[in-house]
């Protein structure tokens, strides 16, 4: 790696920089120069410091040592999950003020989000040209005045990109920009980034999926074993992603349940009868009748906004429309006198929203322990056998060395692994995993998928697994539900196996 600046100038230059997250130092003495015309990818496993590096370069975090220099005339903007989480958390905080004042209809819109970062010269109220172009590119105009919180994952990500563009950046730092997005959203964002690069602007793409490296990228920075190194070539960097992967434990018996639930005899666990869900002007689920039988393990797929998360939330008791529909869980209709807590004790859940909302200053092990009650935070002293059980699970998932750390201080991927352990710790009758691998590097993805398979093999586990990536499906899946994005749903043989919409039976699945 060449420290210092070449004569052609630089966009960003790091000179012997050491990163700092609270009292931990990362990637000591990193020197890295991005020169005009270069397009970089940054690859590395969860918790290696990728996001910290991006935040430090963007100027959001101070470094412990060294200098971060921005080339003359260059402006940086960062798009990351953390930014999304910040915006989301602020919206939650503002709810307190909204409820207090009774102004419930003042939720943040993408238009306001963009306006916050608008450069001074456009203070007149016009969208900056770069933003206006991107709005046209994404066909985002109709979404500008929607509530930010009610956008789909792909729309939310685009809104954050639009916000980043408001400062007219010459370098966009993208921290896992494709995570949790369906193929259409990924492709449309990638096409936009491509255009952005072709216009002489720069991109730094942080990812743990080597296949996401964009066409036109010229360099790769690989983070491995606490060091950042420039790869000789993109091909060698991609190849190196396989190396250094943690070896998985052999698929032995799963963690022993000490506190186990007694599975009830009812065969039909989930029973949707003619369920219809509408948000504002769109029908997300159109008269869906569908059953999940005990022991079935469903993969659900479909584009962003097609209702996958809605189905998960209806079952988890998080979607209030469950009370206005005929949704039966464990043989009992919602709203017939069961409590949310009875459901939470029988169902384990991991969703991106859970992670965004789980902001408690407790240890990672305590987060796992909160799975026994399905609480967010720990509000009673756990019993010894619960602690033993949680500890064994954490060891089996190879997370023991992180379990005493404060949960908010873990990286996004590490938090995700602990939330998965939280969902599994009670050995639930039904496990709901909505994009469980989002934010995970290849070895951690494999770890999660294997853990699900191990649990399924030793338990009469029922499962719903939602993902946009067919390569993430655990082998134990038995059924597939495809949502078409227009309210329809059909059972199919495998991921994407039905291409011809004529074959789909709208709404009703025969069995």
């Amino acid at each position: 790696m060449t420290p210092g600046n070449s004569e052609s100038g630089f966009v960003v230059s790091l000179e012997k920089v050491t990163l700092r997250v609270r009292d931990r130092k990362l990637l000591p003495d990193t020197s890295w120069t991005i020169r005009p015309g270069e397009q970089w990818a940054v690859l590395g496993p969860n918790g290696s410091g990728k996001s910290t590096l991006a935040r430090t370069v963007a100027g959001h975090l101070p470094s412990a040592a060294g200098h971060v220099r921005i080339g003359r005339g260059h402006r940086l903007a960062l798009v990351s999950f953390e930014r999304q989480q910040d915006v989301y958390a602020r919206e939650l905080e503002n709810d307190a003020a909204r409820y207090f004042a009774g102004n419930l209809d003042t939720e943040l819109t993408p238009r306001e989000l963009i306006a916050r970062d608008r450069v001074a010269r456009d203070a007149a109220g016009e969208m900056p040209a770069a933003v206006a172009e991107a709005i046209a590119f994404f066909r985002f105009e109709p979404l500008l005045d929607r509530s930010f919180r009610h956008l789909s994952a792909g729309e939310m990500r685009k809104a954050l990109v639009l916000q980043a563009l408001a400062g007219d950046p010459t370098l966009l730092l993208l921290d896992e920009p494709f995570d949790g997005l369906d193929r259409n959203s990924r492709e449309s964002l990638a096409a936009f980034f491509q255009t952005f690069m072709e216009r002489g602007r720069h991109i730094v793409l942080v990812t743990h999926r080597a296949e996401e490296i964009l066409e036109g990228m010229t360099h790769v920075l690989v983070i491995r074993d606490g060091r950042a190194e420039v790869a000789d070539s993109i091909a060698s960097a991609v190849e190196s992603q396989g190396i250094g992967r943690r070896r998985l434990r052999p698929a032995g018996p799963g963690p022993e349940p000490v506190v186990s639930t007694t599975p009830s005899a009812d065969r039909v666990i989930v029973d949707f009868r003619n369920v219809t869900i509408r948000y504002q002007d769109s029908t997300v689920i159109d008269s869906l009748s569908w059953q999940l039988l005990r022991g079935q393990r469903w993969g659900i797929f479909g584009p962003n906004g097609s209702g996958k998360t809605t189905i998960i939330n209806l079952i988890a008791g998080e979607n209030l429309q469950g009370y206005a529909n005929d949704v039966r869980l464990f043989g009992r209709r919602r709203g017939s006198g069961e409590s949310l807590w009875e459901l939470r004790r029988r169902i384990g859940v991991v969703t991106p929203t859970l992670q965004m909302g789980y902001r408690k200053k407790i240890s990672a092990l305590e987060v796992v322990l909160s799975g026994f009650d399905g609480s967010t935070g720990l509000y009673r002293r756990p019993r010894q056998e619960e602690v033993d059980s949680a500890t064994r699970l954490v060891e089996a998932l190879d997370l023991a060395d992180l379990s005493e750390r404060l949960f908010p201080q873990l990286s996004y991927g590490q938090q995700r692994l602990f939330l998965i352990a939280r969902a599994m710790v009670r050995r639930p009758e039904l496990l709901l995993l909505d994009e469980p691998c989002q934010g995970l590097d290849p070895s951690n993805r494999a770890r999660v998928i294997e853990a699900v398979d191990v649990m399924a093999a030793s338990d009469p586990l029922s499962l719903i697994f939602v993902t946009h990536h067919p390569d993430e499906y655990p082998a134990c899946l038995t059924n597939f539900l495809e949502l078409d994005g227009e309210g329809g749903a059909a059972e199919v043989q495998a991921f994407g196996s039905i291409k011809n919409p004529v074959d789909k039976i709208r709404g009703v699945i025969p069995r």
């Binding site: 207090f100 009370y323 409590s339 967010t376 509000y379």
Partner: protein, 350 residues
């Protein structure tokens, strides 16, 4: 009820360990709880009770934002969502959760819908304690009960979903059925209380009105203005005066007080701060004690209520209020605050 020692004084509290959800469901198994008013407290308490497995219906004026919100929250018109009178007729526990002014206005209609043996439930003692002024005089054949969560509607709901719960006080004003107390406590658990402590309608409303006029809002804003003015008159900049008066309090000190108490603050601050704060505390107490005594007297005699009701019913109420709030918001102190907040690190680059 568990006995707890509060600084040497013994009080009783009811925890959800001794009165678990199952017991509450048993007590209320034949009841339909009608929540009248889907504004601020209404949704939080109604959603929590429904999620706890109780039979809940909503009474709300049709064709408004609150009605639409109720539909969005999964209440079904004709099944679990009705107009106010219909819900009041169908309910056996009637939660009267509209605003104080709304309670006075709606009372004749609601009263006509009460059946013998119903429980009329409040989360604030105002209408009942000042019944001579509000006209809310319940018939003798219903229970009149109160559960007052010590938090906003948002925290009532958010704490419930987290699994923690909120603290509430409870009271029985009228026990017509002989079951009033267990109905009260069961409803308190149903709405998501972590523990409940007993009070009376009068104590609840007197402490509430005193608190908001006193330390929580009136006194706080008053002494902030006084200190700010003195600093400004002596040449301090607005940002410095604001930081020393408001920002340090809200951004760090009050959180430490919340965690550890004011005694801890005194024991752990610098000696300079400690000496001064110890010396000046008695003088502030001495100066404000007569004001607080006046205030409390004005509350219990009903004078405060009279002022509120008269002001609310004046035709030019809105314009006068807007003018007062405009003066407050336009003051240098609170305009300086706006700038200080925008400079907080978490507001950079966002």
């Amino acid at each position: 009820m568990a006995k707890m020692n509060f600084g040497g004084v013994e009080e009783t509290v009811v925890t959800r360990e001794e009165f678990p959800l199952e017991k509450a469901r048993d007590v209320l198994k034949d009841e339909t709880i009608a929540v009248l008013g889907y504004g601020v407290q209404g949704p939080a308490q109604a959603l929590n009770m429904r999620d706890n497995g109780f039979r809940v219906i909503i009474g709300q004026r049709k064709d408004g934002k609150s009605w639409d919100k109720a539909v969005k929250d999964g209440w079904v018109p004709g099944e679990t969502l009705f107009d106010v009178e219909e819900a009041a007729k169908r309910g056996t526990i009637i939660q009267y959760l509209v605003s104080d002014a709304g309670q006075k206005a709606l009372w004749p209609k609601v009263k006509a819908c009460l059946n013998e043996g119903d429980a009329l439930y409040f989360s604030h003692g105002f209408s009942i304690v000042f019944k001579d002024q509000t006209g809310v005089i319940p018939p003798a054949n219903v229970d009149v009960i109160l559960v007052a969560p010590k938090g906003s509607g948002t925290s009532v709901r958010a704490n419930f979903l987290d699994g923690s719960g909120i603290n509430s006080s409870f009271a029985v004003f009228q026990n017509a059925t002989g079951r009033a107390e267990e109905r009260t406590i069961a409803t308190g658990i149903a709405i998501g209380s972590g523990y409940l402590f007993p009070t009376t309608f009068a104590h609840e409303v007197h402490s509430d009105l005193t608190g908001e006029r006193g330390v929580l809002m009136g006194a706080l804003a008053g002494i902030m203005e006084a200190q700010y003015q003195v600093l400004r008159e002596n040449g301090h900049t607005p940002s410095e005066a604001f930081n020393e008066t408001v920002e340090e309090l809200t951004q760090s000190l009050i959180r430490l007080v919340g965690q550890n108490g004011m005694d801890w603050m005194y024991a752990n601050c610098s000696t300079t701060a400690q000496r001064g704060a110890l010396d000046w505390k008695p003088r502030f107490k001495e100066a404000t004690l007569p004001v607080f005594k006046d205030l409390y007297n004005s509350v219990i005699t009903g004078k405060e209520t009279e002022i509120v009701l008269r002001a609310n019913s004046a035709p030019d109420y809105r314009e006068k209020l807007d003018a007062e709030l405009h003066t407050l918001g336009g003051s240098e102190l609170w305009r300086a605050g706006k700038t200080v907040r925008s400079l907080r690190p978490e507001n950079w680059k966002k």
